[in-house]
């Protein structure tokens, strides 16, 4: 067990990029002196001070708007949405402004912005502090969407996102931060990881399970169980939802002929729908079985642990979904 957590990866990426480029700055609510509600930005204020970390009033629209406006004139801001659920308050600045500016201006202006979206359940965080909203942004042309599932990916992809010239929505699952307060772990050198390159997290031959963020851990657990039943799972992590690594996905589907897609967000209209549609549209000839989606039930997130545990897909539901895909259920 390494001490290097996703929180570490993210902090280190920010630190290294801030060091590299003085136009990189952080903006958000209580991200400065206090180091953030999840401790992800701890220590950065001491190192870089108030001109590089801007604690805003509770004003999500102005906060994201300020980041977009600064980006228009040369800054490379990193904005944090403390709980991704609050992004609803800044959608105009993201969807109508940041995502469309390059296009509306015929390519004359651009918005090199990263928005860190703190995402998913963290144990009874309930309906307004648990959402996984990545699929909305998959549907917004002009946005790139990143969803890392490991500390190394978090670090390498965030470095790339910060250097990227376009607006990037960067999803971080709370349960991957690795311990409340996110104590600083080892510094691990990670090169920037290009956007649009997925990764096989486990090789297998019977079925491809596509997953990302926290759910991918459950998928790996399920795959270990299924191995005992003689089912060989390939686990494929897209890492970025936009762009999607179609070639990587095709390779895996060509090999296994079966696809299960797992994520925490509600299934209906989730990012898994797009992935399923890509497979059914572009890799149909490889498909031997129905595409199975497993994900959050189509409900808001309940408070009670028993209910939350039922709504969020864990290893058992994922294993069941795989068995169903293989006609073994």
């Amino acid at each position: 067990m390494t001490k290097f957590s996703c929180a570490d990866g993210i902090r280190q990426a920010i630190d290294e990029e801030m060091e590299r480029d003085p136009d990189v700055f952080l903006i958000g609510e209580d991200i400065g002196e206090s180091g953030g509600v999840f401790g992800v930005t701890k220590g950065l204020y001491e190192k870089y001070g108030p001109t590089r970390l801007w604690d805003t009033p509770i004003s999500e629209e102005a906060m994201i708007g300020a980041a977009v406006g600064a980006a228009l004139v040369g800054a490379r801001p990193i904005a944090e949405i403390m709980f991704g659920d609050f992004v609803v308050l800044a959608m105009d600045m993201l969807v109508n402004q940041a995502a469309k500016t390059h296009y509306m201006t015929g390519g004359r202006l651009s918005v090199p912005l990263v928005v860190r979206m703190v995402t998913g359940t963290a144990g009874s965080t309930a309906a307004q502090h648990s959402q996984s909203l990545e699929s909305w942004f998959v549907h917004v042309p002009g946005m790139k969407v990143v969803a890392p599932s490991s500390p190394e990916d978090a670090k390498g992809l965030l470095k790339t996102a910060i250097r990227d010239p376009d607006p990037v929505m960067f999803f971080e699952h709370k349960q991957l931060y690795g311990g409340r307060g996110g104590q600083v772990g080892d510094v691990v050198a990670v090169e920037p990881i290009p956007l649009g390159v997925g990764r096989v997290r486990r090789e297998g031959s019977d079925v491809t399970i596509v997953s990302y963020l926290k759910t991918l851990e459950h998928v790996l657990d399920a795959a270990a169980t299924l191995e005992g039943e003689g089912i060989s799972c390939e686990v494929w992590d897209p890492r970025t939802l936009v762009p999607l690594d179609r070639e990587g996905l095709r390779r895996s589907v060509a090999k296994t002929g079966r696809v299960v897609i797992a994520h925490e967000a509600p299934v209906r209209g989730g990012a898994g729908a797009e992935i399923a549609a890509v497979v059914a549209g572009e890799f149909f000839e490889h498909l031997k079985a129905p595409i199975v989606r497993v994900g959050g039930h189509n409900t808001p997130m309940p408070y009670a642990p028993e209910l939350e545990g039922y709504v969020v897909p864990g290893p058992e539901r994922i294993a069941e979904a795989v068995r169903r895909c293989l006609g073994r259920a």
């Binding site: 002196e33 659920d85 965080t125 502090h129 189509n298 409900t299 028993e306």
Partner: protein, 335 residues
């Protein structure tokens, strides 16, 4: 500060009742904190200890048909309105017997009978909701008001601004109650706005703004009464700013270290419970025994509430799929 309003003597029984309500809130929160530490409460808690007088003072001025919206720090408002601590604890314990059947927790608690339309996990979100409720109250013909509580931090959200503008334009019967506890999360007021009196923002909407000592329950009740009468008379909304302080951190787990010790000490010395008790002692010569009696009563009540809540069932996992829609159209809307 309009302390002067509270200068007339306080009726003894009334005073004792207000005091009891504040003690109930204080002890409810202290015990919730212990229960969370003991593992009985799985979610967030934002204790309102120190702010009891706002909740009790405002609710003490309301009528039966009035409706309320609240915040993440809403237990006091709910108890102030007369909610049942047993069902509140049951909700915090995530049990079926809770106010929200275990689906909401602290951040989303409601009591429909009391017109308590809910705590809220989104800062500032209760403000437009109360504004809309007031619109419907007005459409229905009056006699009741809507009240919304929110913090100093929330007054920087667009929802605050848009709602006050709308309500003043339409002269809606709504009371905007800002609990200015000097911090929004870890951020001191002078780090989130340059003004000192939130009440001053009322002038942007041609609306009266009142500052009141939020630790003086009698004063809070008086300004609320006046504002409510204005609203019922069709004169529109009022912005009430109650200056107060939370004794604890922002949430359970936060030690509140970003606050200067002298500041904390100053406010601890102006404890809303002591302010009222001091007055009752002075005006009615109450003694420690009377105080102990109140405390013992409340304790017994909370003991019973907690015992009841602990007995409530955990919800069955499949109940997750209920209550998404009033009419799920035979389940089709759930797929």
């Amino acid at each position: 500060m309009t302390d002067s309003l509270s200068d007339k003597p306080v009726d003894k029984d009334e005073g004792l009742q207000l005091y009891r309500r504040m003690v109930r809130i204080r002890r409810f929160e202290e015990r919730a904190s212990q229960l969370r530490a003991a593992g009985l409460i799985p979610g967030f808690l934002h204790p309102c200890i120190g702010q009891e007088a706002v909740a009790v003072g405002v609710c003490g001025a309301l009528g039966d048909g009035d409706v309320l919206t609240s915040t993440h720090r809403g237990h006091g408002h709910m108890l102030g309105r007369g909610a049942d601590p047993a069902r509140m604890y049951a909700e915090l314990f995530a049990r079926s017997g809770g106010y929200n059947h275990g689906k909401g927790g602290s951040l989303h608690m409601i009591d429909v009978q009391l017109g308590f339309l809910g705590a809220n996990g989104i800062v500032g979100a209760g403000i437009p909701l109360a504004t809309g409720a007031a619109l419907q109250l007005k459409r229905r013909g009056g006699g009741s008001v809507a009240v919304t509580f929110f913090g100093d931090g929330a007054t920087n959200e667009g929802s605050f601004h848009e709602s006050l503008n709308l309500a003043s334009l339409w002269k809606l019967p709504v009371l905007y109650v800002c609990e200015n506890n000097l911090y929004g999360e870890f951020t001191r007021q002078d780090h989130h706005q340059v003004i000192t009196d939130v009440a001053a923002r009322s002038s942007s909407y041609g609306m009266p703004g009142v500052v009141v000592d939020g630790n003086d329950v009698i004063a809070v009740r008086e300004v609320t009464r006046e504002a409510r009468e204005r609203a019922l008379a069709g004169e529109g909304p009022t912005l009430i700013e109650a200056k107060t302080y939370r004794h604890r951190g922002h949430f359970e787990g936060d030690m509140g270290r970003y606050r200067p010790p002298e500041e904390v000490a100053r406010w601890m010395a102006h404890d809303p419970l002591d302010v009222l008790w001091g007055r009752l002692v002075k005006e009615h010569a109450l003694d420690e025994a009377a105080r102990d009696a109140v405390r013992a009563d409340v304790e017994a009540e909370l003991d019973a509430a907690i015992a009841w809540a602990k007995e409530q069932e955990h919800p069955a996992p499949e109940q997750s799929l209920e209550d998404v829609y009033v009419d799920s159209i035979g389940g089709a809307a759930l797929r």
